[in-house]
């Protein structure tokens, strides 16, 4: 049940009616949980029990910690989450890497099906346990409330990862579908839908063609595919986030911001403050800062940065490419910390140069992220300098790339490098007309082939 299907529309309208009819926050929490369960079961009913099991473990661990004061219960809960994630996502990778390293030949890899959204809901579950440990929130007595948070359907498949201390308090109040929220939510949703089905999926077709056989294409085509993938992954993932945030906004939830014009970043650290903000801030709050952050001297800061980025890379999947990609960004952040200038206002040309250099750095990093293996990534890097081969400059990469560049320029000069977040003024005829034209344009220009979300794989 993707967000842009008739089934989802019917499901959402029915759930919204139930939310609106609920008289108390407690009743509403039951409605939220029911909606989450229906949504998740529609995707894959087999793993609903696993999800409930994770929630129950977290619930019990936090309650035991509260009653006994022993942090071991919380750490045990976190360890259980990590063990589950490790088994489902990384077991085969580590066992086969180990066997390769020691020349053990074929080893017992398992046919494990990755439960949908496991990386996202386990991180929310761990966020709950660690927030309880930090004292940011108290252990939840209402199991339904905790379950409604961890399994919240708009973001369970691809994020954003909302932290417990940000979300749980929102479940204490009565949610009402209000006009302003609907306008903002609809605007966010349609923005996300455009990014996904019009921009990302169209550009993705061109990217897939070149990445499938880079040896056949010339340097220009490969460069266009590299640029294309940078645009595709941004539009795909931020598009999903926008839709999720838009849906939650209609129900009067604030999931925060997950992307903030990442290609306007001036350095790798800035990039991670703008890209997948919920994941970066999760690693900052629960890994980087507990490791000591930047408080334990320069060398330790570099190590902490590198460890955090390596783990962040590994979060994306069980493949050496993700580890290399994490290390690449980690080294980028360390280099920026070592060499970056302190204080002072940059001149406009310096800002432009830094932004362009960072875009190049990030785009080359996406090659490692996208490639099936590090060897394949190297093949693509070499291909960038090839003079012969098919010349394929995809029109959509150029046109949509230009549109995205214009949006970024607008944000740079008119919004102080922040993403615009205005709602369409749907009270006015002009607002209604704009929305109508927008939706018909989406329907006319949408890509109708296979269009799975990239981040749903993680």
């Amino acid at each position: 049940m993707t967000f842009y299907s008739i089934n989802f529309l019917l499901f959402f309208l029915a759930a919204t009616a139930l939310v609106q009819l609920s008289k108390t926050p407690k009743t509403q929490r039951r409605v939220f949980l029911l909606a989450n369960a229906v949504f998740y079961a529609y995707w894959d009913v087999r793993f609903l029990l696993l999800l409930l099991g994770v929630i129950w473990v977290c619930y019990v661990c936090a309650r035991l910690f509260e009653s006994s004061g022993k942090p071991a219960f919380l750490y045990g809960g976190v360890a259980a989450c990590l063990a589950l994630l490790g088994f489902c996502k990384y077991y085969n990778f580590f066992i086969s890497s180990f066997a390769r390293a020691f020349g053990l030949g074929s080893v017992g890899t398992l046919n494990i099906i990755l439960p949908l959204g496991i990386s996202f809901y386990l991180f929310q579950a761990m966020s709950y346990l660690l927030d309880v440990k930090k004292g940011a929130i108290t252990a939840e007595r209402d199991f339904v409330k905790l379950a409604a948070y961890i399994s919240f359907f708009p973001q369970i498949t691809s994020g954003p990862i909302v932290k417990a201390h940000d979300f749980l308090p929102q479940l204490d109040r009565l949610h009402r579908v209000r006009k302003d929220n609907v306008y903002l939510g609809v605007t966010r949703f349609v923005t996300g839908l455009t990014k996904k089905v019009v921009l990302a999926d169209r550009i993705g077709v061109a990217v897939n063609a070149v990445f499938a056989a880079p040896a056949a294409y010339n340097g220009l085509s490969i460069a266009m595919a590299v640029i294309g993938y940078s645009l595709q992954i941004y539009c795909d993932f931020s598009g999903y986030s926008d839709m999720a945030i838009g849906i939650a906004t209609v129900w009067d939830f604030d999931l925060g911001r997950n992307f903030n014009m990442p290609y306007l970043a001036e350095n790798p650290s800035d990039f991670w403050r703008r890209w997948h903000i919920s994941l970066s801030s999760w690693f900052r709050d629960y890994v980087y800062i507990p490791l000591g952050g930047s408080r334990r001297g320069r060398f330790r800061t570099y190590v902490n940065l590198l460890v955090t980025m390596l783990l962040s890379g590994l979060w994306h999947g069980a493949n050496a490419t993700f580890l290399v990609w994490g290390a690449y960004h980690g080294l980028g952040c360390v280099a920026h910390r070592m060499l970056g200038r302190r204080g002072g206002q940059k001149k406009p040309w310096q800002t432009a140069l830094c932004t362009a250099a960072n875009c190049l750095f990030v785009s080359l990093g996406w090659v490692i992220f996208r490639a099936e293996s590090v060897g394949k990534a190297m093949e693509i890097f070499r291909g960038l300098f090839r003079g012969t081969g098919i010349c394929y400059v995809n029109v959509f990469t150029v046109v949509y790339g230009g549109m995205i560049a214009l949006t970024h320029l607008y944000a740079r000069f008119r919004r102080n490098a922040n993403a615009p977040e205005e709602a369409l003024k749907l009270d006015t005829f002009r607002g209604k007309l704009l929305l109508s034209v927008w939706i018909f344009l989406i329907l006319g220009l949408m890509y109708c082939g296979n269009s799975a979300f990239i981040y749903a794989n993680f």
Binding site: V205, A212, A216, T388, V395, F440, G444
Partner: protein, 332 residues
């Protein structure tokens, strides 16, 4: 309150209609298909509305004008002898400019600027081999001065049952099924299709989303037997040079080489054609040459994927070269 509600309903309705017409207006420059009629008793399975303009921008980009018979050809009158070109969407070449279509290139080569049409396309969408066999008799009767006939096909894996049924050729009836005999309701539908290209585009998008392969029962039919009977029939209906123009699929391999994809029944097809005195022009070697010498693929456009979809300008050129060479060899 009620007044405000009525105002909102009115505004939303007006906005939806206005939005539709704004995007519909844009479609005239992006994707516009005129009305088309299914014509079981004419030389092709369907014809476009004569005089209409087709704009095709979802794959490649081309603007084509429909001729007086409902087909896509250059302006001009038919020469005394000409090559009749049957085929499907590839032959129509809506994805390229009219001057790049293989039918136009062959025509330009033989007409020598005389203004007469020496190659005439009667292709229509979805007009695959069984349909071409079914309409072959009507085509020969409608164009009795054809000196040669080429039939473009991209697959030889047709269903034996369809090949069997294709032998039931209808009698050519020029007075039946044309645009002149339409009922007022049908005329209104065609006018709506002409004026509302967005509807056609949306329908196409939703059909792609819901595309499902229809399963057919094959029955007790054998491919080779049915093909033999069908080709024997069309051979008996036309004495001149008759050739299938077959274009295999292409796929780029991870190592950068080009792999041609031939239909499963390709060998049998060639044998049956030879038995019936029908020539087969295989454009595969031409495609390989195109890739190796010019690093170009015969299919795909800058707004789609290289190597898949319809013939592009380079693909049309290869087909034209092969057909010209064939016609010269046969002294047509």
């Amino acid at each position: 309150m009620r007044k405000n509600g009525r105002k909102q309903v009115f505004q939303w309705t007006s906005a939806l209609l206005a939005g539709f017409f704004v995007v519909n207006a844009l479609c005239f420059g992006y994707e516009r298909q005129p009305g088309c009629l299914v014509t079981p008793e004419l030389p092709a399975a369907s014809v476009w509305q004569p005089g209409a303009v087709i704009v095709h921008g979802t794959e490649g980009y081309g603007i084509s004008k429909v001729d007086e018979n409902g087909f896509l050809n250059s302006d001009g009158t038919l020469a005394e002898r000409y090559v009749l070109m049957m085929g499907a969407s590839h032959t129509q070449g809506k994805e390229v400019s009219p001057g790049q279509r293989y039918s136009t290139l062959v025509n330009d080569y033989f007409s020598g600027g005389s203004g007469f049409l020496t190659a005439y396309s009667i292709a229509s969408d979805g007009h695959f081999l069984p349909s071409q066999i079914r309409h072959f008799r009507a085509a020969v009767e409608a164009f009795p001065n054809a000196g040669a006939i080429t039939i473009e096909i991209g697959s030889t894996d047709d269903s034996p049952r369809e090949l069997h049924d294709a032998r039931k050729q209808p009698v050519y009836d020029p007075g039946n099924g044309g645009f002149n005999n339409l009922s007022p309701v049908s005329r209104l539908k065609l006018a709506a299709k002409e004026g509302l290209p967005l509807l056609t585009l949306l329908k196409k998008n939703f059909q792609t989303l819901r595309a499902q392969a229809a399963e057919e029962t094959e029955g007790p039919y054998d491919y080779e037997t049915e093909l033999d009977a069908a080709l024997s029939l069309i051979r008996s209906q036309f004495d001149g040079p008759l050739a299938f123009v077959y274009h295999p699929t292409t796929e780029i391999q991870p190592d950068g080489s080009l792999k041609l994809g031939y239909s499963d029944n390709w060998e049998i097809f060639c044998q049956v054609c030879e038995k019936n005195g029908i020539d087969v022009i295989d454009t595969g070697p031409g495609f390989t040459r195109l890739y190796e010498t010019e690093q170009k693929l015969p299919y795909g456009f800058s707004n789609t994927t290289p190597g898949s979809g319809h013939l592009n300008a380079a693909g049309h050129r290869i087909l034209a070269e092969e057909i010209i060479s064939y016609l010269e060899e046969n002294r047509v």
